[in-house]
């Protein structure tokens, strides 16, 4: 196998990865899962397992919405989607980095306790990434109507 054929093989694999999107019908499914999980999260107060399932179902719902195609998936939509992913990535990383500092300062100012620095948590980072992407994408689409 020469270098050219290896590169061609790699390119084909990358092209396959680009077709990660689900069809438009899945968008509704995603919103329904998100809606049910969101309501379930507020209704469950004690059962921690159920709460955990609801929290992760919210993420699954948003992920399905995020990777579902629009009715007409043209180049403008792809462009807006790319912008929303970029914005979500930068915003989520910024929040993840600055949050421990802000929570430390808030604790110090309001409770005068010197709590140790604590991270933002995996669920919160994923929630930030997905929710910002999905809602910013909807906002961008609205701006281009």
């Amino acid at each position: 196998m020469n270098v050219k054929s290896i590169m061609e093989c790699e390119r084909k694999n990358i092209d396959k990865l680009k077709k990660y999107q689900l069809s438009n019908q899945f968008k509704k499914v995603g919103w329904i899962i998100f809606g049910i999980a969101f309501v379930a999260l507020f209704l469950t107060t004690k059962d921690t397992n159920l709460k955990l399932i609801a929290k992760y179902s919210i993420l699954i719902g948003l992920l399905i919405v995020s990777i579902s195609k629009e009715k007409i998936e043209d180049e403008l939509v792809k462009n807006l989607r790319m912008h929303s992913f970029t914005f979500a990535f930068i915003f989520a990383v910024f929040i993840a980095i600055t949050n421990p500092l802000f929570s430390y300062l808030a604790n110090f100012v309001f409770t005068e306790k010197q709590e140790p620095f604590s991270g933002i948590g995996d669920w919160m980072i994923l929630w930030l990434l997905l929710s910002i992407q999905v809602f910013y994408f909807e906002y961008l689409k609205k701006m281009h109507r």
Partner: protein, 70 residues
């Protein structure tokens, strides 16, 4: 980038929706191009060129600051 898409569309007596269907995009894309909110790809520009039967330069024009390095 300035464009004459609205004028060319009027010459062919097409609505945004009809033009969008002819070149396989959404109405929002046509509207965004006309309002200069979105710069179309080369493929889309050439599809428009085929439809209008005119070169791309006839309905898309660079701004002065975009011409600077030419």
């Amino acid at each position: 980038m300035k464009n004459r898409l609205k004028i060319e569309r009027a010459i062919l007596n097409l609505t945004q929706e009809e033009l969008a269907n002819k070149i396989g995009v959404s109405r929002q894309t046509i509207s965004s191009i006309e309002k200069n909110r979105y710069v179309p790809s080369t493929v889309l520009s050439l599809r428009l060129s085929n439809l209008f039967k005119k070169p791309v330069n006839d309905f898309f024009e660079l701004d002065e600051n975009e011409k600077a390095n030419a």
